[in-house]
C-alpha cells in the first residue's frame, strides 16, 4: 500500500460537531458489532436515520481514560462495493467522514472470509484496528489465531475480544487510545492488467475523501455508480479518459471485473490466513448444531415453531402479560385506586364539566389515554418485546425465514419478511418501519399492506383473544379467515404488482443462548421508542374523542356508521367501537369487549365483529408511519382499500354463516 504519513496519534482530524475523536465500527452482519457498541458506549445511544435514507445509524460516546470518543455503529456490510442501501450508507460514512479509528469487527471463526473486508479497508488507507470478536467461540472450536502474525502481515493492530463476555475489551480500548498509523500496510496485488488501470486512474481520483485514491479507482473500475458520479462531478477531468481506460481494461481482462477483484481480495486474505489461522479438522456436531438442523427441517421445525409460539406468545405474552399483569395494573391499580381518586379530585376541584371529561371520567386523558398506555399496552407490548428480543438473540429468526420462504414467495415477499411480520404481532407501527429492511419497493409495499390489513398487533390480539376465549368456534372462524385473507390478499397483490421475483439469501448465525444484558438493552430500546412514539398518540386520541363527544361530531359519524353495522349483522352500538378503533386499534376491540360482556353479541356477531375489527384500520399511529415510509398517496390508497374491504369481509362472513345455518 502507498506510504502513509507517519505517526499522527494526536494530530488527527476530529469529529466536526463535537470536537471529539471519532470511532467508526464496520463489519459483516452478525459479527456482534452491536454488542461491542453497547460495551463501548453503555446505553447512552441515539439512533437516527442516515441523511436522505431510512437506514438507521447508532451513535454514542465512549470514555477511555480521560478522553471522550464519539462512536458510530454502521449497518452490516460485506464489501466496500455496496449492494443494498444499508451497505451504501456504511460505505458513505467511510467515504464522507473523517474517522480517527475504524474498528473492523470480524467473527474470529470466520476470519478467512471476513478478512477480505478488512483488507479493503486497510487498502483504502483507513485507520483500521482489526477486532476479532467471538474469540471464546473460536477457542471452543480449537481455532488458533496468531494475532501478532496477523498484525505484522496487515500492518494494523489486531485485538481478540469477546463482546458478549467483555473479555479483551479493555485491551481494545487501550489500543484505540494509543492508535498510531503504521508505515506500511497490507495491499492486494490485482495482477498486471488491473494494477495498470488502477495506477492510471488513481491520480485523477478526488483526494479529499475518507478513502484512498487507489480504493476509489478500484471501486470505479468495478462500476460503482455512486463513485462514478462523484468522480465525474469533480471539475477538470475528461470523462473520456475514465471511459477509455475502463473500456481498455475490460477488453484486456479474461474474466469480468466483478469476479476478478473479489477473487484476488479473497485469495490474498487466504494467503494471510494460511499462516495465522489454524482451524482444526471436522468435529462432531454439537447439540446446538443439531438443534439448529432440527429448526430448519419441516418435520421437526414446525413442532418447534409451535412450541415457540405457544410458550413465547400464548403463555408469556397472552397469559402472563395480557392476563396477570394487565389484570393487576388495570383492575387493581387503576380500577380500584387511581381512576376513582382522579375522578374524585376532579369532582371536588374542577367545576367545569368538559374539563373534567378531558382529564378523567370515561374517555379522559388520564383515565383513558394514560390508563390504556400504562395498564394495558405496556404489559402486553413489553412482554412481547421481551419474548421477541429473546427469540431474536438466539438466532432463530433466519431459520424461520428459511422455513417460510416458499410460502412467502407466493405472496410476493421472501423469507426475510418474516422479521417485520413477526414484529407486527407486537406493534404494527414499529413493524411498518422495519419493512424498510426489505430489498425492493414492491416487497415493502406488499408487506406494509399486509401488516395494516391482516396482522393484529399484540394489544388488539390480547383483546380479541379475550373476547373469543369462551367461544372456540368463533376463534377458529376468526383464525381461519385471518390466515386466508393474509395469503389471498398477498397473492393477489403480488399478481397485480409487477416486479422481479425477490431473491432469498441470508446468513444463518449459530444458535446462541440469549444473554440477559443484550435482551434487556434491546427490549429497553424498543420500549423507549414505543413510548415516545405511541404515548402522544394515546393522549391525542383521548383529546379527539373528547372533542368529538362534546361537539357531537361523533354522534353524526356514528349515525352514518350505524346502517353499515346493520348490513354486516352487528348491533348499532358497535359503530362506536369501530369509530374509536380508528384512534387506537385496541380501543375498538375494547369497546366490542364491553358489548360482548354485556351479552349484546351472539356467537355469529362475535365472529363477524372480531374479523372486521382485525382487518379494519391501521390505527392512526400506523397510518402516519405508512405515510412516512410509503408516502401519502400510497398510504391513502391502502386505507381506501382496507376500509370497505374490512366491512365487505365482515358482511360476507355474516351471510356465509347465516346461509349455512351455522350458529357459533
Amino acid at each position: 500500500m502507498s506510504e502513509q504519513s507517519s505517526c499522527s496519534c494526536h494530530g488527527g482530524k476530529t469529529c466536526e460537531e463535537t470536537g471529539l475523536k471519532k470511532i467508526v465500527m464496520v463489519g459483516n452482519p452478525n459479527v456482534g458489532k452491536s454488542a461491542l457498541f453497547n460495551r463501548l458506549t453503555g446505553s447512552y445511544v441515539t439512533v437516527s436515520n442516515y441523511p436522505g435514507t431510512t437506514v438507521e445509524v447508532s451513535q454514542g460516546k465512549c470514555k477511555i481514560d480521560s478522553d471522550e470518543y464519539f462512536v458510530e455503529d454502521t449497518p452490516g456490510m460485506y464489501s466496500l462495493l455496496p449492494i443494498t442501501e444499508e451497505e451504501r450508507v456504511s460505505r458513505d460514512i467511510l467515504l464522507n467522514g473523517k474517522s480517527d479509528v475504524v474498528l473492523c469487527v470480524v467473527d474470529a471463526k470466520n476470519l478467512k472470509r471476513m478478512l477480505s473486508l478488512a483488507l479493503q479497508l486497510v487498502e483504502a488507507s483507513l485507520p483500521v484496528i482489526l477486532v476479532l470478536n467471538m474469540m471464546d467461540e473460536a477457542n471452543r472450536l480449537d481455532i488458533l489465531i496468531d494475532e501478532g502474525g496477523l498484525e505484522k502481515k496487515l500492518g494494523v493492530p489486531v485485538v481478540g475480544i469477546s463482546a458478549l463476555s467483555g473479555k479483551g475489551v479493555d485491551v481494545l480500548k487501550s489500543r484505540i487510545h494509543s492508535y498510531c498509523r503504521q508505515e506500511s500496510t497490507a495491499e492486494v496485488f490485482y495482477g498486471d492488467t488491473l494494477e495498470g488501470a488502477i495506477n492510471a486512474l488513481a491520480p485523477v481520483m478526488p483526494a479529499e475523501t475518507g478513502l484512498s485514491q487507489r480504493a476509489l479507482a478500484l471501486l470505479l473500475i468495478q462500476n460503482d455508480p455512486h463513485i462514478s458520479e462523484l468522480v465525474r462531478s469533480v471539475e477538470g477531468h475528461s470523462p473520456e479518459f475514465l471511459d477509455s481506460t475502463i473500456a481498455e481494461l475490460e477488453k484486456n481482462l479474461v474474466e469480468p471485473v466483478g469476479y476478478t477483484v473479489p477473487m484476488m481480495q479473497h485469495s490474498t486474505a487466504e494467503d494471510i490466513c494460511n499462516e495465522a489461522f489454524n482451524p482444526p479438522a471436522d468435529r462432531e456436531p454439537s447439540f446446538a448444531q443439531r438443534l439448529s438442523d432440527w429448526t430448519m427441517e419441516p418435520l421437526t421445525g414446525i413442532p418447534i415453531l409451535m412450541i415457540v409460539l405457544y410458550y413465547g406468545l400464548y403463555k408469556f405474552v397472552g397469559s402472563f402479560g395480557a392476563g396477570t399483569i394487565v389484570g393487576f395494573l388495570e383492575e387493581d391499580i387503576f380500577g380500584k385506586y387511581l381512576s376513582p381518586w382522579i375522578n374524585e379530585m376532579l369532582m371536588a376541584y374542577v367545576p367545569w364539566g368538559p374539563l373534567r371529561e378531558l382529564i378523567g371520567m370515561q374517555y379522559g386523558i388520564v383515565t383513558l389515554g394514560i390508563r390504556y398506555a400504562i395498564a394495558i399496552i405496556l404489559p402486553i407490548v413489553g412482554t412481547f418485546f421481551i419474548a421477541f428480543s429473546i427469540i431474536e438473540d438466539t438466532g432463530y429468526l433466519p431459520r424461520l425465514a428459511m422455513m417460510v420462504d416458499r410460502i412467502f414467495k407466493k405472496i410476493g415477499l421472501n423469507g426475510r419478511a418474516v422479521i417485520p411480520m413477526t414484529l407486527g404481532f407486537g406493534c404494527d407501527t414499529m413493524a411498518t418501519m422495519v419493512t424498510r429492511t426489505l430489498e425492493t419497493k414492491r416487497e415493502r409495499i406488499i408487506a406494509t399492506l399486509l401488516l395494516a390489513l391482516a396482522i393484529p398487533c399484540s394489544a388488539q390480539l390480547g383483546v380479541v383473544l379475550g373476547m373469543v376465549a369462551n367461544n372456540r368456534a368463533a376463534m377458529a372462524v376468526w383464525a381461519v379467515f385471518m390466515i386466508g385473507i393474509f395469503l389471498l390478499v398477498g397473492f393477489l397483490t403480488a399478481r397485480l404488482m409487477p416486479g422481479d421475483r425477490p431473491n432469498f439469501y441470508m446468513e444463518v448465525p449459530p444458535l446462541r443462548m440469549p444473554r440477559p444484558g443484550a435482551v434487556f438493552i434491546k427490549t429497553y430500546t424498543r420500549m423507549q421508542w414505543y413510548f415516545m412514539e405511541i404515548l402522544p398518540m394515546f393522549i391525542l386520541a383521548s383529546v379527539m374523542i373528547w372533542l368529538g363527544n362534546i361537539t357531537d361530531t361523533f354522534k353524526v359519524v356514528v349515525s352514518w356508521l350505524s346502517p353499515v353495522m346493520g348490513l354486516i349483522g352487528l348491533p348499532k352500538e358497535a359503530a362506536v367501537a369501530f369509530l374509536f378503533g380508528f384512534f387506537r386499534r385496541d380501543y375498538g376491540a375494547a369497546g366490542l369487549y364491553d358489548l360482548q360482556k354485556a351479552g349484546a353479541l351472539s356467537g355469529n356477531q362475535l365472529a363477524v365483529a372480531v374479523i372486521t375489527l382485525t382487518l379494519f384500520v391501521p390505527c392512526i399511529a400506523q397510518f402516519l408511519m405508512m405515510k412516512k415510509e410509503r408516502g401519502l398517496k400510497m398510504a391513502c390508497m391502502m386505507a381506501l382499500f382496507i376500509f370497505p374491504f374490512a366491512f365487505l369481509v365482515g358482511g360476507l362472513v355474516n351471510v356465509l354463516l347465516n346461509v349455512t345455518g351455522i350458529q357459533l
Binding site: 470466520n110 477473487m263 438442523d293 428459511m402 423469507g415 421475483r501 439469501y505 446468513e507 449459530p510
Partner: protein, 218 residues
C-alpha cells in the same frame, strides 16, 4: 465455410429430420445450398444412402451425425449455462464453436456441464462414452447446488455469471469458488455451510452455485 463444416451442418439437419422427425419438410428443401453440403456429396462420402422414397444414414453417417449434433448442443449448453450469452449469440457462437471441438475437449466440456441430457431448447443431447461412465458410477462431476443430495460435500466450482447482482451478493458473503461447501438442507429452502458459516438461499440462488462433487462423498 470449409467442406467439413458444411457436411457436419448437413448431417445435423438430417439428424433432426430423420431421427427426431421434426417438421415434414421435403428432404431437398432443408439443405441450404449456401451453407450445407448437398445430398449428393453426402452420398459420395458414404454417409447416407438412397432408399425407396427417400434417404437414410449409413452406419458411419449415423454416428457422424450423432456426434455432430452432440457437439452442437453441448456448445449451446456451454454458452447458455456458463457464459450466459443471450439466445441469438448463443446460437451463433455454438455454430462456430462446435466445429473446432476435439473429442477430449468435448468430454471435458461434458463433464464440466455435468453431463447434461438436453440442450437449452430441450432437445436431447446424444450421450457420449463419458456420460455412460458417469451414469454408471452415479456421478456428475459438476452440478448445481440445487441438484445435490442433502449432506453432500463438494468444492464450489463457479457461480453462474448471468445475473451479476446475484454473483456479487454470493461472492460478498464469502461463497467463493475453491471453497468447500456442504449442503445441509434442501427443503423447504436450501441451506449450506461454507467454512464456519451457514447460509440459507432459495432455489434460484442455489441453482447459480455450481459445485465440484467429491466422488467419495457417498
Amino acid at each position: 465455410m470449409k467442406t467439413n463444416e458444411r457436411i457436419e451442418e448437413s448431417l445435423e439437419k438430417l439428424w433432426e429430420q430423420l431421427e427426431e422427425n421434426s417438421g415434414g419438410n421435403m428432404l431437398s428443401e432443408i439443405l441450404d445450398p449456401e451453407q450445407n453440403a448437398s445430398l449428393e456429396t453426402l452420398e459420395e462420402k458414404g454417409l447416407i444412402e438412397k432408399i425407396q422414397g427417400g434417404i437414410r444414414f449409413t452406419e458411419t453417417g449415423r454416428e457422424e451425425a450423432r456426434l455432430a449434433i452432440r457437439r452442437h448442443r453441448l456448445s449451446e449448453r456451454l454458452f447458455h449455462d456458463i457464459i450466459e450469452t443471450n439466445q441469438d449469440d448463443m446460437e451463433e457462437a455454438a455454430c462456430q464453436f462446435e466445429h473446432v471441438v476435439k473429442k477430449e475437449i468435448e468430454e471435458e466440456i461434458c463433464r464440466l456441464l455435468g453431463h447434461p441430457e438436453t440442450c437449452p431448447h430441450g432437445k436431447p443431447i446424444p450421450p457420449g462414452s463419458c456420460c455412460q461412465k458417469a451414469r454408471l458410477s452415479g456421478d456428475k462431476f459438476v452440478a448445481s447446488l440445487a441438484s445435490l443430495k442433502r449432506g453432500e460435500k463438494g468444492i464450489i466450482a463457479y457461480i453462474k455469471a448471468g445475473d451479476s447482482k446475484k454473483l456479487q451478493k454470493l461472492m460478498a458473503m464469502g461463497i467463493l469458488p475453491g471453497n468447500p461447501i456442504t449442503l445441509t438442507h434442501a427443503f423447504p429452502s436450501f441451506a449450506f455451510t461454507v467454512g464456519y458459516s451457514q447460509y440459507a438461499v432459495d432455489r434460484d440462488m442455489a441453482e447459480a452455485i455450481y459445485v465440484k462433487r467429491s466422488v467419495h462423498a457417498k
